[in-house]
Amino acid sequence: MQAVVLAAVVPTTTYYLVLSAALFGIGATGLLVRRNPLIMFMCIELMLNAVNVTFVALAVRFGNIDGQTAVFFVLVVAAAEVVVGLGIIISILRRRPGATADDLAELKG
């Protein structure tokens, strides 16, 4: 009986938006809490994914494909951003191994 009731519910756009709000909040919290630059980067990816879910859910709701095109561009920019960011992290960590975000408070190498 319970399974029949569950199967009858159709997830609306609101469900997806609430999910992406939760994902964005978790990503933001992680970005503020963690001090390993690599993990801070992963938290940024979480927040980008939350935005992507919002884009796709609303694109489907409005029947407008532009939202999915925007997600495509977000993916491309995220890939470029990860490449540059990891390059910076490599050159920092090569110079001082085990550096956390707190150790990098000044630009002086």
Partner: protein
Amino acid sequence: MDFVVFILASAMVIAGALGVVLRPNPVHAALSLVLTLFGVAVHFVALGAHFLAAVQVIVYAGAIVVLFLFVIMLLGVDKAEDLSIEPFPIQRPLAAVVGAGVSGLLVAAIVGAKDTIPEGTPLGADGDQNIRALARNLFSDHVFAFEFTSVLLIVAVAGTVLLTRKEKKGSA
């Protein structure tokens, strides 16, 4: 059935996200990120965005997370971080408040605007149709932006090579 898929995929997404934030070992965090990305891909399939689901798996789970793991292994920073050290005593409660506040405000806005979003004609859930529509949109309305992303990628690759290059002795 749709709802069961939604619940399972959402559980994947949230569990993976919590894993990224809470796991002390960077390798475990990267693998939790894969779980989240697959969950998001399942949501994309459920919403009928088949092309983006495929790209999500290929680019995010395939390329970006592998890049993360590659950097972790290259630098040898795969040691577990001691999470019991708190440099600023108030940082974690404050961060939790900020995160919960952002989520709470967003959810309040979403629930408040629930009935004001007008209903459009839903996109066709047929996979072929989705890819056709996306391609038509991408190569007509957004063709300049699309071409410009190639410039962006070239600049990113060239910049990264320059950033991570080891300076030779003797050269300025």
